[in-house]
Structure formats: C-alpha cells, structure tokens
Symmetry: none
Subunit: 228 residues, 2 copies
C-alpha cells in the first residue's frame, strides 16, 4: 500500500539528469517521503518557496542557477530548510563551497541511494533538535525530556532510549491517539511499513516497566494513546 499522503513530509529534489532524479525519487518515495522534482535552479528555487518542503536535495551543477546559488538565496530569505548537495566529484572545492553556503550535508556522485536517504533522515533528525522542554506529568507518570528520566508513582523507572522516545511521543499530546504508522514514523523514523509488531512490543515493555502507573491506553483497531 503506497501511501498517497506523505507521512514524513515533502522533499524537494532538483536534478537535471533524469536517470538520477528518478532514482532519487524512487528511493525517497519508498522510504515514505513525498517527492517533488525540478530540473533547473530557477524552478527549484520557486518550488522551494512555494511548497515549503521539509528538506531539499540540490545538484550543484544545474541549468540556469547553480544549486549553491539556490541555497544561498533561500538562506538570504530566511529559509533554513535543510539542504543536501549532490556534487559531481569528491571535489574539495565543491564540498567546501557547499558548506560555506549553509548546506547541512553533501553526497558525492556516484552515490548510493540508500546513503542519500539515510542522510536526509539524519538531517531531519538534527533539524528537529534535541527534544528539550519541561517535565510533563500524566497521571502518576512524570517524564523529563532534559534528564531523560521517568518516574512512575514517584519511583524512578529506567527506560531504554527507544522506550523513552515512545513514551515521550505519546505524552507530548495526552489523549491524542497515534496509529502504529505514526509512531513508527515519529519515533523510529521509518516510513509506514505495516505488518510489523515492533510498536506493540515496545508498548508492552513500557507498560511493564511503568507497572500499575501505566496510562497507555489501547485503541483497538487504531493505535495507542496516553490518558488525557
């Protein structure tokens, strides 16, 4: 089931070589990203402004307007959307120029599409930043994002990193029901790939560790939610 609505957001790809562009689009789409393709710098810049993608993948050598220039203009306009450059060769000059212009990462051609996807994910994760914030309490459970600690009925509970992220995600919006796909995307960074029981297993683990204080409710046929 290929999702119609991109659960992970839109990525703008500006690349003039159709073969490469298709490849990139294929892999990003397979990973759950929406993809918008442009062939030259001008159109790319316009699309970036119009569509507000969550990230941009820019070839450096582009007709009309080099990718570096697209990036620079975005930055000048106060647009800090993460940018990943595609450079023709592992050329020190290109690399450096890219970073000077405020790119978040770069990939040299020829490249592995998997690597590109991984970098897009990494960049997005970084842009999301360390999940800071004040401690939050739901029922008898208190969660501190800074300290990454959890207490259930006043007793400290030791959660693994994934367990903590899962609980934090649920507690960020108490009462809101999250589907398994949403949780996979938000916590694991995966595209919605149904058929896995991973979320269930981790929910069970968190519930076990929280004991009686657990306030994760199952919504049959839908997903999970923290009590409001």
């Amino acid at each position: 089931m290929t999702a119609d609505a991109p659960p992970r957001g839109l990525v703008l790809v500006v690349e003039d070589e159709p073969a490469i562009a298709d490849l990139v689009r294929l892999y990003l789409a397979r990973d759950g990203f929406g993809v918008h393709l442009e062939r030259d710098g001008e159109a790319g810049l316009a699309a970036a402004r119009r569509l507000r993608p969550v990230a941009c993948v820019l070839d450096i050598a582009l007709p009309h307007l080099p990718g570096t220039e697209v990036c620079r203009r975005l930055r000048e306009a106060g647009d800090w959307t993460p940018v990943i450059f595609l450079t023709a060769r592992d050329d020190e000059v290109d690399r450096v120029v890219g970073l000077e212009l405020g790119a978040d990462d770069y990939v040299t051609k020829p490249f592995s599409p998997r690597e590109l996807v991984a970098r897009v994910r990494a960049v997005l994760r970084r842009a999301a930043g360390p999940p800071g914030g004040r401690p939050r309490t739901v029922g008898a459970v208190t969660l501190d994002p800074d300290r990454r600690t959890v207490t259930a009925a006043g007793v400290p509970v030791q959660l693994t990193s994934t367990e903590f992220d899962l609980l934090a995600h649920l507690m960020a919006r108490p009462g809101r029901v999250f589907t398994r796909e949403e949780l996979l995307a938000g916590v694991w960074g995966y595209a919605a790939h149904a058929g896995t029981r991973t979320v269930d297993v981790h929910v069970a683990q968190v519930r076990a560790k929280l004991g009686e204080a657990s306030m994760i409710r199952t919504h049959r046929g839908v997903g999970y939610a923290a009590d409001a």
Copy 2:
C-alpha cells in the same frame, strides 16, 4: 541547539568580502545575535570601541589595517572582548600570530558558518565563565572552576584541560543529558558532524581518573550526563 529567544548580544564582523560577510551575518543573526558589519580595519576598530560588542570576528587580511593589528590595539587599550580570527589559509604563521595577539579562537577559510557560530558561542561561554564562581559538588566529586581543580572523595585529581572542560560542562547542569554533538559544540567548539569517538574516549579518561567517585552516566543511544 537550545533555542534562546532573547538577543544574545552584538557581534562585530569585520570582513571585506561581501559574500562571506553576508553569510556570516545571516548565520549569526539566525542564532539570535545582533550583527554589525564593517569592511576595513580602521572602521572595525572604531566600531569595536564605539559599540562594545560582546565578541569580534575579524578577517586577518583587511584593507587599511590587518585584523591582527585591530586585535592588538584593542588589547593595548585594555579591551579584552573575545576575538575570533578568519584566516585565509591554515597558515602556521597566521595562527601563531593570532593567538599571540590575544585572540580567543580562529577559523580558517573556507569554513562552515555553522562552525563559526559554534565557536562564537563557545568563546562567549568561556568569557562569561571564569566565574562559575563557587565550587560545585556532585556526589563525591567537587569541581572548582576558578582554580580548575577537581577532587574525588576528597582526593585531588589531576585532569587535563579538555578533560576538565568536559567534566565542568556536564556538572554545570547535573542530570541534564548532553548528546555527543552538544558536547563537541560546547567543549570543543566544533559544529561537528558526528562520527567521531572523541567524546567517548575523553569520558572514559575522566571516569578512570575519578575512579569509584565517578558520577558520569551513559545514556545509551543519546549521550552522557552527570548524576543529579
């Protein structure tokens, strides 16, 4: 990155190449700094005296008056505002001269603007911080920022400079979990791409020196924290 809303003070940037100057201004402004731009050494020196910035970013190769000279004159006048040099090349002469003149850091061109911002922040943190004021104790470990000494269970421990800074950074906010990236940025001043084990090695070193008294906790998949 912590998102600090309040203005973080004015940074003076003296750089004759408009492209680079704009870039630096963009990034500093984005990070919450006020920015004042000058194009040559004379004007830069005057601006520094007039505006009293919290930090200066000086290109070394400047019209009228080299950046090194600007720095030297400031120091002569008793102005110890933190200075970061921009050097055209990783030139040994420039480096030494710069630091001799009382610069706090330097960045070689071409550079990543993110790294420059990170260094400005690091320099300010350092400048703000001979204080720390009172010694701080966490568990059996006591750290004195003024004397740069550490005792574990009452026994003096000799730490190297980097080790001390790392421990101080962690102890500044006990309980708070710092990612490796945050530590690299805060202690080393890198706008680091991850992928290095530097932090781990230094943590191990500190732990070894603190012995049983060590209270640095590993948060798997995240980073490190000092016990609360």
